[in-house]
Amino acid sequence: MKKLLAVLLAMMMVFSLVGCSSNKEEAPAETPAETPAEETASDAKIGIILVGDENEGYTYAHMEGIKAAAKGLGISDDTILWKYVVPETQACYDAAVDLVENGATLVISNSYGHQSFMQQAATEFPEVTFVADTGDTAAVSGLANFKNAFTKVYESRYVSGIVAGMKIKELEANGALVPENFDADGNVKVGYVGAFPYAEVVSGYTAFFLGLRSVYPNAVMFVEYTNSWFDITAEATVGDDLMSQGCVIVGQHADSTGAPSQLQKNMEDNKYGFTAYSVGYNVSMLDVAPDVALTSASNVWEKFYTYAFNCWLNGEDMMTDWTGGYNEGAVAITDLGASVAEGTKEAVDAAIAAIKDGSLHVFDASTFTVGGATPTSMMADVESDPNYTADTECLIDGYFHESEFRSAPYFAERIDGITELN
């Protein structure tokens, strides 16, 4: 035992010498660039609270947006303080307050569940601006320093639906559809991996379905929820399940690559005797599903962060609800995959142009029915309250005005042709 200890001690001394010397060499080079906060604590900072890190598509998109916006405005790296993998719990409040104590005068969180903790911090620090991305209570909070922001991602979902519709058309023309792809009424089956049954998801899948049906009217869609924003395994399972039921397109409002990877694998294994194509979210799925990924609907968060950072630099007050769509360059679809149908690019460009000039409205009430009838009135819970009161008429001039009364989506009608499976 004594011998062993002696050997261990000797080894440790050697190692620690090596460790020390290498540290001395490295330290001067690394320290100035990497040392955060402390030295420059008097300078104002921007605090960022993220629900994940770069391994998660939704957060990755935010990180890229933040970096691009900072670069564009000449904001240095050490001005931005990051908090990664912050759960939607008290930890968010702790993180927000910690950021403020380290000099942040603008704090932005990126997940819905962060909202109430951000609001709590906003109440305590009125001189600091707090923004809860995707949140919906800023307008009713009565706090001047509490804001919400969300893109009009339903616009890019609509466009991604067009890509899917074009593909179905092509498959049908080529005779590539199999009997399992049709329901009893001869409609082509489409699937959708949803995260939660919230307005945000409902608004998104409805826009996707309407886009798809604008190209290929005889379609029905099945939505299956994973009850998680990010769950690779569950999304793969749901994707596979939808495919086993004959869905030839699988869209998604969930943040992982689970579903497209599964579709790619099913194609390679020829598991169901047909190929199903994926329309993803946040990031391009071509890396994980080169043969079956058509495109992904995505947010260009850089636009929001540029706006927010610019206000911060100039000491201006931000708007309570920020939103942006194709006109602001805040939404997009990712690069089209090799499998898209011919003419897709042209159809996509035409739709984007029509959305931009206001001649195309995504939620045009003449294009869908609710309970068998064309809707004449659609009330929604815009002024977010605990009782979920539908307080505002949103069907004006023949279309549903999504994200115009507040940034977070509030379209929550279940339209005909879409079935929620769970």
Binding site: N55, D94, Q115
Partner: protein, 366 residues
């Protein structure tokens, strides 16, 4: 010793309880080794300066007054849950259901906050919530204990499954209380703060710490100086002995597990009323399982549990700070935490076993 393979290079034998200086030495060496190996990882894999990474870890946990308080607050909560496991674990009753018991304690606390907050004076409400949380935690532990005592069912599986029932109950009530379909109840009573722990002597977390302190002393006395605690230890050593000594085994199991559940429930109360002021299936946050490690490493000694809880919370705060400061993702921070924990667990091995080079080797070769 016959079973030791003669050709093996190292020989491992069980040894007597190590002396205190020996233990301290082993721990010191362990921590040094852990820091060195982590340093190698940091230097060669992440290309960062290990010293500044360690400084960042320390700052993350204790860098500001508020960070220090949060670290202490979280360590207290983890300690409370670890304490709750001790009476059950010492009987070899594997209560893996702390998670669910915390959730149930938190659920009843949240329900009382929602329905009576700002209507009933907070001190009274706090008292009611405390009792209710302990009762609901105890109930959640009672079911597995009853079946264990009556039918000798497997308590590990039973308590684990009760966690899932607890999670589903929370899911149900979150949707029941939240009419916005956002699957979140948000912060309860943000206006008026009804049912929140009030600051005492200007310190927000004074009550949290006080409760944990009281429970720590209680458990120490209970485990070491009470008849009930002693009976639990006997049952853990040998049920046959306990029966022979005239101990009512089912009753001892039931009472100790009830106590265990009640303290877990109390932890739910501290978390909901004293820290987060909300309820979700994140309320327990895996602490019910982390506490198992704490409880085991400390060998049921409440004061050792306090140190280990503090250390584990320190590591997690430190890991978060590393990712903030250096843009390392969570996995890199977790590797460092993992290396450190691994070394500490293996130091247990050196405290319990003797390792020697096999001197019989030459003889065996003949």
């Amino acid at each position: 010793m016959e079973k030791v393979h003669h050709r093996s290079f190292l020989r491992v034998t069980k040894k007597d309880e190590a002396s205190l200086p020996m233990k301290a030495l082993v721990i010191a060496i362990t921590i040094l080794c852990a820091l060195l190996v982590s340093a190698l990882f940091i230097y060669f894999v992440t290309k960062l300066d290990p010293i500044s990474v360690y400084v960042s870890m320390f700052k993350g946990a204790f860098g500001t007054k508020r960070r220090a308080w949060i670290t202490i607050r979280d360590a207290c909560l983890l300690l409370l849950i670890s304490l709750s496991l001790a009476p059950a674990f010492r009987m070899r009753f594997w209560n893996c259901g702390a998670e669910g018991q915390i959730l149930l304690g938190g659920l009843s606390t949240a329900a009382l906050m929602i329905y009576f907050g700002n209507k009933v004076p907070t001190p009274l409400l706090l008292l009611v919530m405390m009792v209710a949380s302990m009762l609901s935690g105890a109930l959640w532990a009672f079911l597995p204990a009853y079946f264990k005592a009556k039918y000798d069912t497997n308590e590990t599986l039973f308590t684990l499954m009760m966690n899932y029932v607890g999670i589903q109950l929370i899911e149900f009530f979150v949707d029941f209380w939240d009419k916005k379909q956002s699957h979140s109840v948000g912060i309860i009573n943000m206006n008026g703060q009804g049912g929140w722990f009030p600051p005492v002597f200007g310190q927000q977390y004074f009550l949290n710490i006080l409760i944990v302190l009281v429970v720590t002393i209680f458990i120490y006395v209970y485990m070491n100086y009470s008849k009930h605690g002693y009976e639990g230890a006997v049952v853990g050593e040998s049920v046959a002995t306990a029966k022979y000594a005239g101990i009512n085994v089912p009753k001892v199991i039931r009472n100790n597990v009830l106590l265990s559940g009640a303290i877990s429930g109390l932890a739910g109360f501290v978390e909901v009323s004293g820290i987060s002021h909300t309820i979700s299936n994140n309320t327990a946050g895996g602490r019910g399982f982390t506490a198992i490690i704490v409880c085991w490493l400390a060998k049921f000694n409440p004061f050792a549990m306090a140190l280990i809880s503090l250390f584990i919370v320190f590591l997690s705060k430190g890991a978060a700070q590393i990712s903030s400061d250096f843009g390392l993702n969570e996995f890199a921070s977790q590797i460092i935490t993992g290396i450190i924990l691994f070394f500490i667990l293996s130091s247990e091995f050196f405290n319990n076993y003797k390792v020697s080079f096999n001197h019989n080797r030459k003889g065996a070769d003949k």
